[in-house]
């Protein structure tokens, strides 16, 4: 298996805040890796650094062997790395089709060709019936679908999904999980930032845990949930499992 994304020593400070400190991890081709951690751990900042929205103070990001640090977001996208945003950013005034065509124009500037590519992506994420709906009228899950379709239309090899399941109800989470699995089955390499553990367990083969900007653990999902460092990061320092006779509350 080839290495799709190699991140080495990534660091970023905002004033006195060390948002990301010396983070390294590697994503293999066609693997789904989850980036987890408590709020403020540096997950979204890492995404910004990887996709060119922020420039890291130090470190390197190799996408299929190309150095990405220093490139603008549109160049990163052209290299085959597409992302979605934590807060969906649809082009509200445009229809679903026009939104996704905007992504498709990256590879082909002819209207008809872009329309064809866009329709494929829209079908893939299950928005086919809403092609002509203005994006601002979509529900939360459909906006997330739209973001994925728009990213897919740029024909990426690596897809970075930033909390695509936040704010969804359990049934919708199941749909989203199925969609991520389908994306992975189509051959994409996926990095996913997520809080919904059920979803992470279902889709990720490998998990990277951040806390206070640092990587505190990395491994298979089963190892991660039992890792004491991870439990401490999520639940606080002095937690011990309740003993059977402890139930007087």
């Amino acid at each position: 298996m080839a290495e799709a994304l190699v991140i080495k020593g990534l660091s970023k400070r905002f004033g006195g805040l060390r948002a990301v400190q010396d983070v390294s991890f590697t994503v293999q081709e066609n693997e789904t890796v989850a980036l987890i951690g408590p709020n403020g751990a540096g997950k979204t900042t890492s995404f910004h650094l990887i996709t060119g929205f922020h420039r890291p103070d130090s470190g390197s990001v190799l996408a299929f062997g190309h150095e990405v640090v220093g490139l603008k977001p549109h160049d990163v996208c052209a290299l085959g790395m597409a992302r979605t945003f934590q807060v969906a950013k649809p082009f509200g005034a445009m229809t679903v089709l026009a939104n996704v065509m905007t992504g498709a124009f990256l590879r082909d500037r002819h209207i008809a060709a872009a329309q064809k590519k866009a329709r494929e992506a829209i079908e893939f994420v299950g928005l086919g019936a809403k092609e002509q709906t203005p994006a601002k009228d979509l529900t939360t899950i459909d906006q997330r679908r739209l973001e994925m379709a728009r990213a897919l239309a740029t024909q990426p090899r690596i897809l970075l999904l930033d909390e695509v399941m936040a704010g969804l109800n359990p049934a919708e989470i199941d749909q989203a999980v199925a969609l991520v699995k389908k994306l992975s089955a189509s051959g994409l390499t996926i990095v996913i930032v997520e809080h919904v553990m059920r979803a992470i367990m279902a889709v990720a083969r490998h998990i990277v845990v951040l806390d206070h900007g640092q990587k505190i653990a990395e491994g298979a999902p089963k190892e991660i949930v039992e890792n004491p460092e991870v439990i401490r990061a999520y639940l606080g320092s002095y937690v011990h499992p309740p003993a059977p006779g402890d139930a007087h509350a």
Binding site: A82, K89, F91
Partner: protein
């Protein structure tokens, strides 16, 4: 609007015939003057709308390009005897080149800060032309030598000829807008206007697209500047770089509907006609009435129909006739 193909061509043909016949049917020079002003400001609005409307980069400094176009052609004509037809294109090129450093500076800013910076650029250019007297006549300005009937020098005895020139400009502006709107560029512009980060994330080189559309917009605005100077036979920094031109360009588009092909035209027809008619009927008895009504129209549109009259018309059309959601 999604009228069927044949209907669209029929409407265009009818519109073309009416527009061509208009100065023959209406001979009042006052009326033709109003038509010329409507066409001119429609054209400036169309030029502004490419960047301000589709990409939502709200410039209030388009007078910079209007003035550069006007001065380039006038200097070439008065000092070197070169035809304003050539000067007009040269002015467009000067404006395009000027838009590069101006854009480089202003596009670092977003939102209201961008708008303020564009105002400053037009003001700075006006000051430059005021101060450097040897270069372009300073504050006094200059009149254009009247050659009588000289079509090759863009001078006509008939007012209707000016009408056809500016009608031609408007058609070119609308055609360019139409072509851009229907191409990838149109999608990219709207995407930038909606959310620049999201556009970048799907591969849109936003700085380059903004630079390109600013150049096109500046070029077209400069053509209007040359035409206007030729039409009034006079140029000075205060008229060429007038803040009113910048404001009008934005207002007609906002009232008519930004980011739409016909928005600036509709907006100009409403605003210019109202203001011209009110001024001629009531201007002597109720001073400033046209400005008051103008402001009221503006407030009404911004309060109740921020999508402009086009948006309003589309809504009504779909609600009453089609019962379908408006096209986005």
């Amino acid at each position: 609007m999604q009228t069927s193909g044949n209907m669209k061509w029929l409407w265009l043909a009818v519109g073309a015939v009416v527009m061509l016949a208009l100065p023959q049917l209406v001979t009042s020079s006052f009326a033709i003057d109003i038509f010329i002003r409507i066409l001119l400001f429609s054209f400036i609005g169309v030029a502004w709308n490419l960047m301000g409307g589709y990409a939502k980069q709200l410039s209030l400094g388009h007078a910079a390009y209007f003035g550069l176009g006007a001065y380039t052609s006038t200097i070439m004509q008065v000092n070197y005897g070169i035809s304003p037809w050539i000067g007009m294109i040269a002015g467009g090129v000067v404006a395009m080149l000027a838009s590069l450093p101006i854009g480089w500076l202003c596009f670092r800013l977003r939102g209201p800060y961008f708008t303020i910076a564009t105002i400053a650029t037009a003001q700075v250019l006006m000051l430059i032309f005021l101060k450097f007297r040897d270069f372009a006549w300073g504050a006094e300005g200059t009149t254009i030598p009247n050659l009588g009937s000289a079509p090759l020098m863009m001078q006509f005895e008939e007012k209707s000829s000016y009408y056809y020139v500016v009608l031609g400009l408007l058609v070119v502006g609308l055609w360019i807008t139409h072509r851009i709107e229907k191409s990838w560029m149109g999608y990219y512009l709207v995407a930038i206007g909606e959310d620049e980060d999201a556009a970048e994330a799907v591969g849109v080189n936003a700085p380059k697209i903004k630079r390109d559309i600013y150049m096109i917009s500046a070029f077209l605005t400069a053509l209007a500047g040359t035409f206007y100077t030729q039409y009034i036979y006079f140029i000075d920094p205060a008229t060429a770089f007038s803040f009113n031109v910048s404001i009008e360009a934005a207002l007609v588009s906002i009232v008519g509907g930004i980011g739409t092909l016909w928005g600036p035209v509709i907006g100009t027809v409403l605003l210019e006609t109202t203001s011209a008619l009110l001024q001629s009927w009531l201007g002597s008895s109720v001073g400033g009435i046209q400005l008051t009504v103008y402001s009221l129209i503006l407030m009404a549109v911004i309060l109740w129909r921020p999508t402009g009259l086009i948006g309003f018309a589309t809504d009504v059309y779909h609600r009453t006739l089609r019962r379908k959601p408006a096209r986005a």
